[in-house]
Symmetry: C2
Subunit: 205 residues, 2 copies
């Protein structure tokens, strides 16, 4: 690698680290190009030599957030003796805890919208899909007869339901609940959804 591209790479990492700390502190609205440029010691215009635009900057920071979330979820999966329902429950609680500890960065994942006319790039969509892999394992164990497409839809519904409980719970919006109640509710709803679907399958059989 040439010295120039090494330097560029280092600056880019620095840019992402600064952007990450800004989003963590003040959300997406706290991300200002001028402050970014100043903090990494480049001219305003030079920021967009390092990343294409604000969208890429936010998505690259999101990439780091997703990687840490993935690690947090992987850590709770390690307990291999849990039943599939317990695994889903642990994953959901790990998600809740991660969101509680990284609220600004976690919110940014969902609040960011691409500039008009631009699509989310494939690499970012692929990263988001990766997350669902964690839910897939336990669901396959629970519902071995279901097709991959059916399990996809179910994984997404389950994730979205847990996400909704976490999101409204943490925002203290419409739903003001302390974290321990929130965690208990999440475990309960995950269990209820799974048992409810198992019951339905038996009734259909």
């Amino acid at each position: 690698m040439s010295k120039t591209s090494e330097r560029r790479k280092k600056q880019r990492e620095e840019l992402l680290t600064v952007a990450e700390s800004m989003i963590a502190a003040k959300g997406l609205a706290g991300l200002k190009t001028r402050d970014l440029a100043q903090r990494i010691g480049v001219a305003n215009g030079a920021v967009y030599n390092l990343v294409e635009d604000v969208d890429e900057l936010v998505l690259r920071v999101g990439s780091r957030t997703l990687a840490r979330l993935d690690a947090a979820v992987t850590a709770v999966e390690a307990a291999g003796d849990a039943s599939p329902v317990d695994k889903l429950s642990r994953i959901a609680l790990a998600y809740c805890d991660f969101a509680a500890e990284n609220t600004g960065l976690w919110r940014a994942l969902f609040e960011h919208r691409m500039q008009p006319g631009k699509d989310v790039p494939e690499w970012s969509i692929a990263e988001q899909k990766e997350l669902f892999q964690h839910i897939h394992g336990p669901l396959v164990a629970l519902f071995p007869k279901r097709s991959a497409v059916e399990l996809d839809v179910l994984a997404r519904s389950l994730f979205s339901a847990v996400h909704g409980i976490v999101a409204l719970g943490l925002e203290q919006k419409f739903v003001a609940v302390p974290l321990d109640v929130l965690r208990r509710e999440i475990a309960r709803i995950v269990r209820a959804v799974v048992n409810g679907i198992v019951l339905e399958e038996k009734a259909e059989a």
Copy 2:
């Protein structure tokens, strides 16, 4: 009422109507005081003679949105012969349809945050709580032995879960699903949660 206060009231209604159409079209970010003032024909400063500040403006528009959502949910409740689970399902679907048809205004209910140091006023919290009344009826019928507090928590979890599925589904974020699949999933998850909890109660008894 004096002519001045009548005129003021009319202007205030006009302000809310214009703000509503701006939020509907472009979200909270589309709300600009200068444009508002121009559209209702007053000086920029005069806007905040009609409402206290941007927070009040957004909350008053939210008030209208909540009233329309309430009416939409009330309309599907009218079918008196449905079982409690069917009622919950219909309410959830009415919520989904409302969100799909009023995406900008519905999003604003959740994205709006008060300026630092300010709390959401009591009148607005009371309006938000009103919505949960719809879910309470069927839940009392399903779980007559549970305390009001327990049902409160359950109502909120159920609402949040459905909200999450609707929110991620409509945003086409993480979860890209067509509306008919989304509606089917919502009905299924509501049914599963309720049946799962009924099952748990039986196991505990």
